[in-house]
Amino acid sequence: MSEDLQQIVLWLIPAAPLVAAIVTAVLGPKLLRYKSHLPCWSALAVSFVCSLILLLKILPSVEQAAPPEEVGVAISQTATGPQVIASGFEWFNVGSLHANIELRADSITAIMLTMVTGVSLLVAMFGSGYMSHDPGYPRFFAAVSLFVFSMCMLVLSGSFILLFVFWEAVGLCSYLLIGFWFQKPSAAAAAKKAFVVNRIGDFGLIMGIFLIWKHFGSLDFVTVLGNAARIAEVDAQNPGVIQLICFCLFLGAMGKSAQFPLQVWLPDAMEGPTPVSALIHAATMVTAGVYLVARCTPLFVMAPHAQMAVSGIGAATAAIAALIALTQTDLKRVLAYSTVSQLGFMFMALGCGAASAELVTPAVTAGMFHLFTHAFFKALLFLAAGSVMHAMGDVIDMRRFSGLKHALPITHWTFLVGAAALAGVPLLAGFWSKDDILAVLQEASRSETHGLYFGVIRVIAIGAAFLTAFYTFRAYFMTFWGPEKFPEEAGHHPHEVTPIMAWPLRTLAVCAAGIGLLVGPTHLFGDYLQKTMGLTPEHEHHLHWGVMLMSSIIAVAGIGFAWMFYVASPTIPAAIARTMKPFYVISQGKFFLDEIFMGLIVFPLLGIAKLATLVDKYFIDGIVDTVGKVPKALSIIPRQLHGGVVSSYASVMWVGVVTAVVLVLTMF
């Protein structure tokens, strides 16, 4: 494929959704109306095909064309792996800050792009059925197209500054789509919360970018990340600076990927339409943080403390979110907490490189693999939950319906596949990736230096994996099993999904079932990913039979407990809730993290803000007004003399004349 053609393909991936977004925004409300999905569909199809071409054709051909690297020389030079670069225009160029609009695709980009565009296409198809009677139909598709554009650009960015631009842009789309039903006060509040909490993370990301710019003199990925010797040099010149950069970048990742304690926005984000939750808040945008940390592996390698923090925060998040998910009754919130928890799993894996240098590549591979499989089964679960919601008249509280498996057979089967994949049932997608993570953690816990630390994290991971299986099947059994019960909003005969919604569900179900087996144990995924800049290809592969056995047992045990609690003897949960009331309340209350957040940060800041206005009014402005009174005060005495009363003038004049006369007389 010629170079020009490669560049066109690369540009088409983000450009098609952008054009669709503009067309829908301009023509949608008046002209397209309920056909507004057409530009979006076609653009996403184009993007998806182009991503596949990039993945399967362009990058392999680039790799073959490149001269083989000589062993030993590569260390001091910039090593990029196979990549395609398409330059656009100069954005700004001031002093030593350069920002160009330039696309750069390498292996990790191609994988992300294929996943993003593929899932978006399916979600957009589902969305056209789900949103079919909504007055904001064109707005929905315009925002979704804009989101896909931003997300594609995010992973195609070749520099930190461009990454930041689209990091914010996906945040904007998330804001617009969470607040899609802006008439609902809760949706409006959730949208704002998501944006502001994300900004806290962005603060870290900006700091990281400034530090990189200051110490590397560039923000280009190839310049900064491609040269390990350069990173070591910077680290030697300024000890600790790489650690600091990594902590800052990770703060950014924590915001976007909803890691503890910044996870508070994600469950609220479920106020958005369900296809949005599936696309943005499960499969794609929230994984941007994982992508960022994986992308910056060459920096994180030099910062073991930051890596350990990544693992630690990931473990804490995974555990807390899993514990909260146990008691939630809102189906979408269960899935949201599950997303938070699974993102925690990915970070747990990413940080394992701290244990030993050989573990870096397997760790990143495991994290990215989980990201990849998670996108399919979690999108599936959300869309299935969406179709439940659709049939139940927008009711999503699991206590108000049950036994839907006969009424909604397609939804039931697809949800079951997704739930099984998430729980880690052997051979399904989630099983392989979670297995990889557990295996990496096991390796890390054998390390001499940080063995204990990673040992603890491993135990947490196993516990969280068990909880995952349990809460997922709790949701499944509560929704689809038991006596058939519908809320009155649903009418008497809930409708199963229309074909346009059913096919995306079926496709995703096939992916959730098979994609792990297809690319995991065959090492297709790992071998492809490891050509990314900063990773070293592994040559030996082995299956971790022990870990696989263990995780199978965990999954089955979790499902078994869920069956026992919610199908066999449904009185157990209530009994447990009664006997372990404090724990139940904490879990049900989401660890009161929202309240803690409000109490420790929001209210104090609002108090300070109120105080600031008072200080402004009475102190600062008071001083100004006082100073303003000085001339008036100085004039008190002179003013008496200019009172405008003629008699006083006359008397003063009389005194003056007498004095003058007396003076004159005495002088002579």
């Binding site: 001031v94 030593s96 008439q183 704002k192 806290i200 603060f203 400034f210 003199g217 800041l605």
Partner: protein, 552 residues
């Protein structure tokens, strides 16, 4: 090109004169049409000026060489590219005052911003100003004249005359057409800023007299003064004192914390057009003054005092202004406090004293003019419809006024610095510059990014989202509340387009202003002290400031 400048300067003045002369015979409708035509004509000519400047001055031969006006000393940190000088007064044997108009990239862009915002102001006052319309529009146009004058004045006398001239029309705009507290607000605004600028004046007089004694023949000419001071620097202690004196007026004008208290009051009371011009351009006179006078004339003092002290005040201003904005219930006051925070970014960049920071600062001046101008216009639209600005009385307006709501979301995003819109570039460069100069201030300033999103999105949420809530006296005069009308659209659309354009393609704008910024930043930056720069492969074409080529 200088003719174009004079035309853009004189059109508003002539229109204002016309409006004043025929104020008894012009009714509201004809007055606004006259004003509209006058301001649009001024806009067209200033845009033409900008285009011509871009074509003829900025890199006319593609050689990386930027011509300077023939009489300018290349050592000067202020380099008008085009100039018009006319001897004016001769005092004594040696001192000669002259009328010195000039243009460089910064002034050309600021003039275009002024004329654009004036057109918006006229359009937005269309219905709002009912009585004494003729005088109102005359005031708007006199204000425009004064603002353009400041931006093209390259000598201290003209600068100061135009600088003070802007006070009078705005004083009347607030005092006559303002809100219930208008008299107090107008007096406070007038006296506070006047008091500050008198201190500035005394400092400037001292500089002029001192340099004239030392032998400079044209001490009021800014380029000459700056070139002369580059070779005969003032003693450091004198620089400090003079810097503080000159800064006094500018600090109040910007306003930098804690000299800002006149601003919220003036904004709340001023009519929409007044607020737009006040926030959009008038405040920039302060930062422009710093850039034009303090930085080139007192470089040592800027390093010693400006960076640590004004930098700190700006950081406090960013955080404090944001917090105050967060606690406001009056949406106009919220926008006013957000101005304090945004100008904090502007000053932070300026006193980073490096190319990145100063460029960010100038961009922030322009961006703040566009986005805050637009915010005031939107607040004005809401006020015109509901006669309230209290956020508690409003809610869910997006379902009733979708176009206004969309614009509000867009402008808020621009104001909180979303990349891809204009606000980001200014903020990012200012912060990056400060991070390079003083990391602590840079870090603290960046917290404003979080707070900025918080207060503005809270305002958006409370006014536009949620269930529809309208004040009950809304339909009082039986006028149906409708979405944006074409006139309002015309007032807002150019600003929105500019926000997007600057956000996506800032390079063109930066190319216009950068040479002038490099000239100033050259005073502070050692050219070869950055080892990291050598690593950057992306080389830039370095402009050769010493080249003197007269304009063909």
């Amino acid at each position: 090109m200088i003719a174009l400048l004079f035309i853009s300067l004189l059109i508003p003045a002539a229109t204002a004169l016309l409006l004043m002369l025929f104020r008894t015979s012009l009714n509201q409708s004809s007055a606004r049409w006259v004003a509209c035509c006058g301001s649009i004509a001024a806009l067209l000519f200033s845009v033409l000026l900008l285009v011509q400047y871009r074509v003829q001055v900025v890199d006319p031969f593609g050689s990386g060489v930027m011509p300077v006006a023939s009489s300018v000393d290349p050592a000067s940190a202020i380099q008008p590219r085009v100039e018009y000088r006319q001897p004016w007064l001769k005092t004594g044997e040696r001192m000669q005052l002259e009328m010195y108009f000039g243009l460089d990239g910064i002034s050309v862009t600021m003039i275009a911003l002024t004329t654009l915002l004036t057109v918006c102001s006229v359009l937005i006052s269309w219905e709002a100003i009912q009585d004494r319309a003729s005088e109102f529009y005359a005031a708007v146009l006199i204000l425009e004249t004064g603002l353009i004058g400041v931006f093209c004045a390259f000598d201290l006398v003209l600068f100061y005359v135009f600088f003070e001239m802007t006070l009078i029309p705005l004083f009347f705009m607030i005092a006559i057409w303002g809100g219930p507290e208008r008299k107090w607000a107008a007096i406070k605004f007038f006296l506070y800023t006047l008091a500050g600028s008198l201190v500035t004046l005394s400092g400037l007089i001292y500089v002029v007299v001192h340099t004239s004694h030392e032998g400079l023949t044209n001490p009021t000419s800014l380029p000459a003064l700056s070139a002369w001071l580059a070779t005969h620097p003032l003693p450091e202690s004198m620089q400090m004192t003079l810097f503080l004196a000159v800064a006094a007026g500018f600090l109040i004008k910007v306003p930098v914390f804690p000299f800002h208290t006149w601003l919220p009051l003036a904004h709340v009371e001023a009519p929409t057009a007044g607020s737009v011009l006040l926030a959009g351009v008038l405040l920039k006179l302060g930062s422009y003054g710093f850039l034009r006078i303090c930085l080139p004339l007192f470089p040592a003092a800027c390093l010693e005092l400006g960076l640590p002290i004004i930098g700190l005040l700006s950081v406090i201003g960013i955080i404090y202004g944001s917090l105050c904005a967060l606690a406001q219930r009056d949406i106009k006051k919220l926008v006013a406090y957000s101005s304090v925070a945004h100008l904090g970014f502007c000053m932070l960049g300026l006193f980073a004293l490096n190319t990145e920071g100063i460029t960010g600062s100038v961009l922030q001046m322009i961006n703040h003019g566009l986005s805050t101008g637009a915010l005031f216009i939107i607040v004005g639209m809401i006020y015109e419809r509901y006669h309230t600005r209290m956020m508690d009385d409003l809610g869910g307006l997006a379902s009733k006024l979708p176009m206004i709501a969309c614009s509000m979301v867009f402008i808020s995003m621009s104001s909180i610095g979303l990349p891809g819109l204009n606000g980001f570039i200014g903020e990012f460069l200012s912060l990056a510059g400060m991070f390079k100069a003083n990391p602590l201030y840079g870090v603290l300033g960046t917290t404003g990014v979080v707070l900025g999103a918080w207060y503005l999105l809270t305002a958006v949420q409370r006014v536009f989202f949620g269930t529809l809530k309208e004040p009950h006296h809304a339909g009082h005069d039986a006028v149906e509340i409708t979405d944006m009308n074409p006139r309002e659209f015309l007032a807002l659309a150019p600003l929105i387009v500019m926000c997007l354009w600057i956000g996506v393609r800032p390079a063109g704008l930066i190319a216009i202003i950068e040479p002038d910024i490099k000239a100033v930043a050259g005073l502070f930056e050692n050219q070869d002290d950055s080892p990291t720069e050598a690593f950057v492969q992306n080389t830039t074409n370095i402009l050769n400031h010493n080249a003197q080529i007269s304009i063909p």
